[in-house]
Symmetry: C2
Subunit: 336 residues, 2 copies
Amino acid sequence: MAYVPTHKRHTHLPPGPAYAPPDLDPTRPMSEGGSPRPAKRRREHDGPGPGSGAGARASAPRNGAHPGAVTMDTPIVPSIFGVTARNEFTEHVGNFIMANCRGRRDVEIEIKLGTLHAANGPHRVRLPSLTELILPADYPRGQFASTLTKHNHKWLNEVLNQQVQASVGGEYPLRYKRVRQVDEFHRTRAGKVRVSREMEPGGKAGKVVAVVRKNRLGDLNVVSPNQAFDWRISCNVEEPVDIDVDQLGEAESSRQKDRLCYEHQLCQVDLTAVTPRDRAAQPGPMSFELEVEVRDAPALIAEGEKDAAGQPNRFEEMLQSILDTVRILVKNADPQ
Amino acid sequence: MAYVPTHKRHTHLPPGPAYAPPDLDPTRPMSEGGSPRPAKRRREHDGPGPGSGAGARASAPRNGAHPGAVTMDTPIVPSIFGVTARNEFTEHVGNFIMANCRGRRDVEIEIKLGTLHAANGPHRVRLPSLTELILPADYPRGQFASTLTKHNHKWLNEVLNQQVQASVGGEYPLRYKRVRQVDEFHRTRAGKVRVSREMEPGGKAGKVVAVVRKNRLGDLNVVSPNQAFDWRISCNVEEPVDIDVDQLGEAESSRQKDRLCYEHQLCQVDLTAVTPRDRAAQPGPMSFELEVEVRDAPALIAEGEKDAAGQPNRFEEMLQSILDTVRILVKNADPQ
C-alpha cells in the first residue's frame, strides 16, 4: 500500500515544513510553543490608515538610536504608508475565482500539484523567472500532468500525517479520513456522467454516493521554477445529475480511488492513489495525485462578493491561507 | 520647478495609496482610525508552531457551523500547518543582499524605479507572467532605464507629500528634507571619483559634502508586468576617498541634483530632478528619478547574519516593509 500508517515514521523523515531553523528539535511536539494566533495586519486596500506615524506608539526605539534602529521588540511599520502592499498574486487568484464562479451553483475550487509541460515536448515549461508566477491564459504550453511520483506521494503522506499528530487537541486539528471509491464514467445524452460508488472489499463497486456531471469553468496555471512541482487552480461545476444509474449500462471507463482526505479549516487536502480499470476490470498502472480543495466554495465566493462591494471581508486572508497551504506542500513534496 | 508644495493639491489627486475601498472619504484625515500596530504572524521559518489546531483557541466558530465557516471575528489559520509560507520573493532578495554585502563596509542598498528594456530594442521586456518576478541574472536583456517622466515624478511627489501630512504626529512620521547638490565626476588613478558639493543659489558648486568611489556589487531586476515601472535592487560600495579635491582639476562631467528626501523608519525615498552639465556648464535636459534607499544597511545585514545563524531576527520583516514601500510607490506612479 502507498499509505504509511500515521505512527510509522522513517528515520529520513523531514522534520516538518521546509525552512525550519537549524536549531529545530524534531522530537519536540509541534503543539508546544508561543501563541500562534494569526493577527490581522493592516493592508493597503483596507483603506487609509492613521498614517505610518501613529503605527507604533506602544514602543519607542531604544537608546536614542536613529529611528531606523530595530530591536526584537520594535514594531516594524509595514511600509512608509503604514500599510502592507496588496499581494498581486493573491489578488489575481481572487479575480480569477470571482470571474469564473460568481453567480454559479455547485462550484468546486481545487488546486492540483503537477508539472506544466512545454508546448514542444514532455519537459517542464522553463521561464526566465527566479520566483513563482501566474502564466497568462494565451501562453502556448503543453499539458498539465497532475501526477506525483510514488516517492513524492509517500513523502507528502508523511508530512501530512505528522501535521495530523502535531495539531491534535487544538481547535483546528488536521483530521483525516480514508475514502475508497470506484468512479465509473458513462457517456449519456446529458454529457459525460461520473457515478461514484463506495469501494467494497476486493475492489468491487458498491453503494452509489454521487452522480455528477463535471464542467471545467477555468484554469489558472502557476509556474514554480524553484520547486519540483507547478500547480493549477481550477474552477469546476460539479452538477448533480438526476438519473437512474441502473439504466446506464456498462461504463466507458472506471477507476479506483484510494484517498486520504486531510480536512482543515478552509481546505481539504486529498492525497489519492488512482488505479484505472479497463472494461474487463483489469487494473492499469497506479498513479498518484494531490489536490487541495476549498471546503466551502460558496462561503469563499460570498467573501469575494463583499470585497467587490467594498464591504469588510476575509476574502484575501482566506485565499492567502489556501495558497500558503499549497506552497508549503509543494516545498515539502520533494525530499531532495 | 518640478516640486509641488506640500499643501498645494490638485483636484485630480489620488486619495491615497491605490486599492483604497470605494467608500473612502478623501477628506478624512489619515491619522484617524483604528490601531495600525503591525502584528507579527507566525511564519513557516519561525520554526514549528503549536500546530494549526492550537492556533485559534480564543474564538470558536459560531452557530455550530462547520469548522470552515468564517465570520469577521474568526481567526483564520494561516495554512493547514498553522504557519504562513515563507515568501520566496522576499527570500530571494534577502539572499541576494547577503551574498553581495556580507562582510563589506560602506555598503549602500537601493531600489530604483524604471523600465527594463528588451535585448533587441528600446521597448520594455515582456514575459509570459501575470505577476511580478525576479529575472535571472543570465537573461539576455537591454538596459535598465531608471527614469520617470515629469508627469510620474509630479504624481509621486503628491502621493509622498500627502503621506507626510497624514503621518504628522505619529512615532514614525514621514519627514522630508530638500537637498540641492552638485556632483562632479573625476577620473583619477584610484578610479572614478564623485565629489558632491552643496549647491549654492544660482546653481554654483559650494562646500564639499562627500568624496566617494562607488562600486556596483550586484543588481537584481524585478519585472512588474502589471505596472508602469519595473524596479532594480542594487548593492553598491560607496567608499569614502581621502583625496585633495583642489588637485583634481576640471571635472569630466557634472550634474545638479534637486532632491526631496522622504525619511521613514527603515528607508528613505529620494525623488530627484537631475540636470546634467557639460564642461562649459551648459545644462542638458532634466531627468527624473525615484530611489528607495535602505537607511541603515549595516543594521539590515546584521539581521541577515542572525537569520543565517538561526537566531531570532527581523530580517524578512524589514525587507518586506522596504519591498512593500516600493510596490505601493510603483502602483501609485502612474495616474492612469
